[in-house]
Symmetry: C2
Subunit: 366 residues, 2 copies
């Protein structure tokens, strides 16, 4: 199967082999070594010297951890959203009682730095700003460096970044851009199975954690930090997924982080080129098109279900549909983690063939 | 390594093999089949026809899910605790603003049904009672059938059971005992890796979920139920751990649930017998000694660190120390999941040898 959804991503053989490692005591020396190596590798990929914590949950768990650890009920908070995952932060922060200012941009476009500037001017009581780096639902990558320049540089706010489908695949230098809290998920560019989320936390964020009063327990980052100081996790961790993450990090570091980023940039560009060649329309603003996931408009007169069925059954290629309000309107190609040019060529071939078949049959039926 | 901590537990070869399965789309038909088979197997092992939800988290996450989904801030709630994990429920419920009545019993003893009766008489405003079935920290199994008879039968309260280290290993018929919410964790008796928790929820509990106002998002059981209706999970699930759980369930169902329970009972009894033969003292009240984990007092004049070091280095056996206030005072042998008589014999031999060595060296030093 050519699995090309934006996570879970295919696992290379060394990762698959690592997953069948026998269990160990999560309070013993083998685990200390495991979490040590994984943490060091993640810090390299996050380009950070901040604390780096591994949680056993999905990326959404990491979003919840970020919200509940830095905010207090009633706290005015700016959430910049350009898609389903930005809206998820709005939903989580609202569920936990934050007073959310939602700065939304049309799905398919990136956040406009000028509007962020305006919003921050209009909201002096906001202490913390949430931004999605790469919006998996729309295939848009925000210009995070520019946004961070405003949020941190000009306004000196705390910056929390959903880097779930960006960090490790496209450049997101956490320390250089001054990101106070950054998150990722194991099933994205890391060539590891789902079940783990990674969160970096700097000193400023720890000070916020001290003051934040939203209730939390499982996702309490202070507990995770205290356990990490003993090379442990506060609760039993996903050991098998950690074996996979260690093996995935080994491959990434052997390839070199710069080379990993370049490969994603090249394959992202190639994907968009092939899509255009087929006469299909990209959903994302081309200036901000993501190098980890490409969103494509479902052409007029074509049913996504019929298209994806053909792609899947005839070509063993698995793509992702649209989420939420985008369901049936777009489809998405994941190209993060373990991905080659050949696999993307095969995806393009499968879409071409499926379009011909689906259009042919609708002509025949008509 | 003979890993004999009360979770993570060793994985048999068919489970290890299953873990190296390639990734799939968590919104596709392969996942629907996977979660369907796992859910059915879990319902058999839980002996329930209630909804059965799989969450990506540790057992503590399941405890948090139970607390946050059925309670409201300020709600008077009875938590029966006989150890660290009962106290964890107290801590979670308190963190989320419940008004907790803690009914604690000395570590090492079981909950006294008469005192539970008294507490319920004294607290008519309590709607929900939390009980630990098997307390992993002390090696005690509560007489849950008797407790349920009072809590459900006499007082008709909602009953939430931490069955994390019991269900699947020792009898805990969820429906027969009327348990409204029951939880377990994949790394316990299920012969699967950590990273998943399982929660059964009946109709009465769903009605409580409707009314409960503690904030929740990642652990929102209603979202999990709605996703389960589409053979999905609301957030990306731990697919690799699910492969392991499916393989572990296959083995359990092939052995037969009754046989699995009998094996645990036999090996639990044998462990206690060997411990007594060595002249060591059980920590738990013998009438309520657990068949999944045995807690033993560290003998006078012996350092647990020295003892466990010898056991580990000379015999490749890994046991668990005491948690919290029991640290250094007791140690624990896990015998749940994939465990044979021979392995327990080896554990006993290793303890005997280590005790002789440690006592010999302290005599030599003295």
């Amino acid at each position: 199967m050519n699995l090309r959804v934006p996570g879970p991503t295919p696992l290379p053989d060394p990762v698959l082999d690592a997953l069948s490692g026998q269990m160990i005591n999560h309070r013993g020396p083998e685990f200390a070594e495991l979490i040590g190596v994984v943490t060091d590798g993640l810090k390299t990929a996050f380009e950070t010297s901040n604390d780096l914590l591994v949680l056993t949950c999905s990326g959404t768990g990491a979003l919840e951890a970020a919200v509940t650890n830095v905010l207090s009920p009633g706290e005015r908070t700016l959430v910049i959203t350009i898609g389903v995952f930005g809206d998820r932060v709005v939903e989580i922060a609202t569920a936990y009682g934050a007073d959310v200012v939602r700065l939304g941009f049309p799905y398919g476009s990136a956040a406009d730095p000028d509007k962020v500037h305006e919003a921050l001017r209009a909201e002096p009581s906001v202490n913390t700003v949430f931004v999605t780096h790469n919006e998996t639902s729309t295939g848009v990558t925000n210009d995070l460096e520019a946004l961070a320049g405003i949020i941190k540089g000009e306004f000196n706010k705390m910056l929390v970044v959903d880097g779930i489908s960006s960090i490790g695949s496209i450049p997101c230098p956490v320390d250089a851009w001054g990101i106070d809290v950054a998150m990722s998920g194991s099933q994205k560019g890391w060539m590891a199975p789902p079940g783990l989320a990674m969160v970096s936390v700097n000193q400023r964020a720890w000070e916020a954690v001290e003051k934040a009063t939203i209730p939390r327990f499982y996702f309490d980052l202070a507990r995770a930090r205290d356990a990490a100081a003993k090379d442990q996790t506060p609760w039993t961790p996903g050991i098998t997924a950690l074996y996979g993450l260690r093996a995935g990090l080994d491959l990434m570091l052997a390839e070199g982080l710069g080379n990993v980023h370049q490969r994603h940039a090249r394959i992202g560009a190639r994907t968009r080129e092939l899509v255009r060649e087929m006469g299909l329309e990209l959903f994302a603003d081309p200036s901000f098109a993501s190098d980890t996931v490409t969103a494509i408009k479902v052409p007029q007169g074509v049913e996504w279900k019929a298209l994806s069925g053909h792609i899947r059954e005839q070509h063993d290629v698995v793509l992702a549909g649209g989420q939420g309000s985008l369901s049936g309107k777009i489809f998405r190609i994941g190209h993060l983690g373990w991905v080659t040019d050949d696999e993307i060529d095969q995806v393009a071939e499968s879409i071409k063939s499926a379009l011909a078949a689906v259009r042919g049959s609708s002509v025949a039926a008509g």
